[in-house]
Symmetry: none
Subunit: 201 residues, 4 copies
DNA sequence: AATGAATGAGACTTCATTCAT
DNA sequence: AATGAATGAAGTCTCATTCAT
């Protein structure tokens, strides 16, 4: 019972780090101190194990965002909350963002319809916020999707490149300033986007 | 001599689509109508083949950006040109952005120091633009890095998700509007960022 | 558990006959009626499989000689026993001598430090016998090492050339007498060496 | 013309060190600074190249021994000359002895009939010496073949183990004395054998 | 005489998966 | 729930050899 969770956790870590094809069942078994056959006992197949992990992650982020959404119906604040929530959740489960990046890079080979739909809902939350803002006249009219690419793209890119930047800044100390962490990413991001969207009147 | 280029092109396509571990030498050989041993004759190993591809791509984008940079020294225009150039080049060589995403997701396992340094230079070009803008008082003071995450993150995410979005919009027609392509990404992106950065008065 | 031993035995036979590079894992698998992957399951690599075999063989001959050594502390008899024991053991495990010859021919590429040390012990047993004999005045003073080269060289050469001589004697019947087996090799050897070493008083 | 000899020399060195299967045509090409196809141009095939080398070596030792044989018809001296000649020639062309050891270990897979016959002649020279000695009453009656195994076995073993012993004596300095070179191998060998064979009277 | 490119066969090794217990 | 042994397919890489020039 406990073992199953350990397997899930370790598998997730490995899938995030090395990708689906770069992760072996042997590695998962060894990192979770489990017999390889036990993984099959619990999860049927590698594909299924991966699928479980993907589903859990998408559900977690969806549930979190849905919860936070209800904290405000003011578009300005809602946008801020959305960005922060996405960031917080993505940081808490850093593996997810890496898995997502790989899925996008491979056109979602491993994503089931169910998972895709759930992910669409995540986007829709942001879309609604922008639309409401435009309707209420607080945002300039602009394709809401571009905001979505900015938010998810920037956060994904920032979070998943943390280790790489750390490594680079050691190797190239003269460019260290380029690679240092940003103080408060969600706030900076929010401020730029907000200023970029806000209609003055 | 021709064959070598064919192999490079096909390998790149496959690495972009399926990742390093998801691509087999057999597949590359078959897609480039080459004998498998010939790939080893020209490229020594899978790792080395991948490395060559990575290097070529990073060099191409670097050269293109360096060229474009010299077209203006006005930070506002330079920013616009940078965004557009990055977008154009990334779109022309769509495979690169996917390879890059995977590399970031795996903390750059396959990136040699040489390649990393070259990639750092790409970032530095943007950093200099922002810094000049802040110095000249046309941009509000803000951590230049966040802009970099927005530009590269959003463009990467947008471009590499094209096919996935197309697939999704067929499967979920009710949400099709969410997934449609944005009319003019670099322009929209530039306008939001510019508005978000510009200092008034 | 049984399979592992079968693999070891068959691998040993093949390595002896065809050398390390001349033996394929496919061949070993087929001769031991085992799946190739099973060999890797039990032995990790070809190199390691070979190493195990080498270690076992050296240990076997060492243990046998150590045991026999204690049967006498008279140098004359001890020398006789050593020669006979080495011969008997080498004949019982004929593969070993061939493997050893190849190892020597290639300067022990595959010999680990551990194995080398064990083999050194084998030499030391003979060395001690000769030295004791010289000290007690029953042997003329002579470099003990030369005796070692005679014993091991002659026995190795004799035993491993058995099949070749048989083949040759069929092909060249007029020289058959040159190639026939010697009646009692260890005894003949012992007598020559003893006579060659003995000091007369 | 020159290249052909370089190829032969380098191939021989490699075959001696790594065996037939352990040596690749690529390696030979690279060590002789020749194009791989050139080796095929000169030698048809790997097997043939090896065969040429084997033949040359056996012929060289045969010619040398035949020459030396005529220097004496006294069995005692002839034996001494034979041992010394075999040793000198084997030392001059150290690769040969290693190749021979491997051939014996693998029952002479690569030895053509022609080469085998020539090698038989080498043995016959020694056989004749011993027989003459027995006939003349200077040697005790003893199977001549055993002397042959002693001479060839001991010399082969001694010469081909030189590097290995050097390596070992560095790794195990406390046993260095066991591994040091013998001062005058052919003399020591001759003296033991002579004393072992001589009939007193 | 000499070479760069090309190839088919096969080598070592790994992997997801299953089975018997 | 848990495990050691076993397997077929496939993956990376090497090798002897040939071809066109």
């Amino acid at each position: 019972m406990e073992k199953k969770k350990v397997i899930l956790r370790q598998a997730k870590r490995l899938f995030a780090k090395n990708g689906y094809d770069g992760t072996t069942m042997d590695e998962i078994a060894s990192k979770s101190n489990a017999n390889k056959a036990l993984i099959y006992y619990h999860f049927k197949s590698k594909e299924n194990l991966y699928s479980c992990i993907l589903k859990d992650s998408v559900n977690a982020i969806y549930d979190y965002l849905i919860n936070k959404r209800d904290e405000s119906d003011n578009p300005l604040e809602a946008l801020k909350i959305y960005i922060e929530a996405f960031f917080v959740q993505a940081k808490k489960d850093e593996t997810f963002i890496r898995i997502l990046m790989r899925e996008i890079a491979s056109d979602g080979i491993h994503m089931s319809d169910e998972i895709m739909e759930r992910f669409l809902h995540v986007l829709k939350i942001l879309d609604n916020i922008i639309k409401q803002g435009v309707n209420e006249g607080v945002f300039v009219k602009r394709d809401a999707k571009i905001v979505h690419f900015i938010v998810i793209g920037a956060i994904s890119y920032y979070l998943s490149s943390c280790l790489l930047r750390k490594r680079l800044s050691k190797k190239f100390p003269q460019n260290e300033f380029l690679l240092r962490d940003v103080d408060n990413v969600p706030l900076e991001l929010y401020e730029i986007i907000l200023k970029g969207l806000k209609s003055y009147g």
